[in-house]
Symmetry: C2
Subunit: 241 residues, 2 copies
């Protein structure tokens, strides 16, 4: 659509709207191609605007656009773990993971490029953005565990789980998105419970956090199901009891 | 020491010895500084040779030297998980982790730079080298589990653990090398047992691998100790039984 004077419709967008539109176009390109294979011409074409207009918004060129797109993606990822502090921990985790995994599913290769840092436009600034997402996710989870000043063992356990969620996401993309997302989410919740329990056996603070969390779990919830399945396995380990 | 004709002593080294010496000097510099802060002059000085000599061995300059040093480090890391397939799984894992963590301790910032990929000389080739280490470590562990053709759940679990070992190593460096390495190694073995068990409750192949592994564990070993500590925690979860 063009106006009566022939001005292209895109001039009608506000500065903020235009910026958001360009970032969305960039993110969607980064989702399907490595950053080094995306040119500013591609972004201009995807957004239906001219290359000079892209430069007007991102005078730093591709590096600036990439960082801004990364920042937008990082903000979205950070929000995944923002969940009201109510109800069972496993329900909160499952909801957060559903959002996180939906983001992975939607952004695909862009998510992989973001995390793997294998791109030529990788700099310490983009690494810092990705680290910021990890730190924010860890802070959310520690808040869900009601731990204000976590000791090193609990902090390390939570950060290790976040890293392994990232790894699982990349493997999932690599394996043609198998298993189904619901299965992956349930497996990740189980793994969180498993490593938190292992740490709890060596760390009183973590043990206390686990007790608090367990008190909120329903008797027929995921924790109960996991415990029953573990007990079902235990036949093979009878000689250890 | 110089020869009678004034030729510097370094000419006496064989090509292979010289190359190894330069790589060792480079690795030791990368261990204490980010790759972008290491110049070829620094490497020449550390090795006690001239800059042209460094260029003769690495005509591709710093990028080539960095990749070769990375390759050397990667070979060493890959060997960490090569352990004779004898005795309890937990003993094999503990030995592999002791070697891996000793490497982390020794190479310090160089290890961090290698894994974080936040360097300006980062390319898809160096990323491929790091991925190769991960794949080799996963293959070793799957071999220790006596699984020749692992299904996706077991494969994902092992790869997630390897990623979380990397994360733990980076966090350990970041936290002034706390806790002591023995504690960290024991915690990582526990976490492996924990996530393997969680996966086993959903995947028959993993359950079979766990049963085989448990059959080799001594009655007073780390698995027994972990099970007793978990049962000791379970008081707080009594309402779930």
């Amino acid at each position: 659509m063009t106006s009566a004077t022939g001005t292209p419709a895109y001039r009608r967008l506000s500065v903020e709207e235009r910026r958001a539109q360009l970032l969305e176009a960039a993110l969607s390109l980064f989702a399907h191609r490595a950053p080094e294979e995306v040119s500013l011409d591609d972004v201009a074409e995807a957004a239906g605007v001219s290359r000079p207009l892209v430069y007007r918004y991102f005078p730093g060129g591709k590096q600036q656009l990439y960082e801004a797109a990364l920042r937008t993606a990082a903000d979205a990822l950070e929000q995944c773990f923002a969940e009201p502090p109510e109800g069972p921990l496993t329900t909160r985790l499952a909801r957060a993971l559903d959002r996180y995994l939906a983001f992975v599913d939607e952004h695909d290769m862009g998510f992989a490029a973001l995390l793997q840092g294998g791109s030529v436009v990788e700099t310490s600034r983009t690494t810092a953005i990705v680290d910021g997402v990890r730190r924010a996710a860890a802070a959310h989870i520690l808040a869900h565990l009601s731990v204000a000043e976590p000791g090193p063992r609990l902090r390390m356990t939570v950060r290790m789980w976040i890293t392994s969620v990232e790894a699982a996401s990349l493997i999932w993309l690599d394996e043609d998105k198998q298993p189904p997302l619901d299965d992956l989410r349930d497996a990740l919740v189980d793994q969180f419970l498993a490593i938190l329990t292992a740490t709890a056996t060596r760390d009183p603070e973590t043990a206390e956090a686990v007790r608090r969390a367990l008190a909120l779990e329903p008797p027929d919830g995921p924790v109960d199901a996991l415990v029953r399945r573990v007990l079902g396995l235990a036949g093979g380990a009878a000689h250890l009891q």
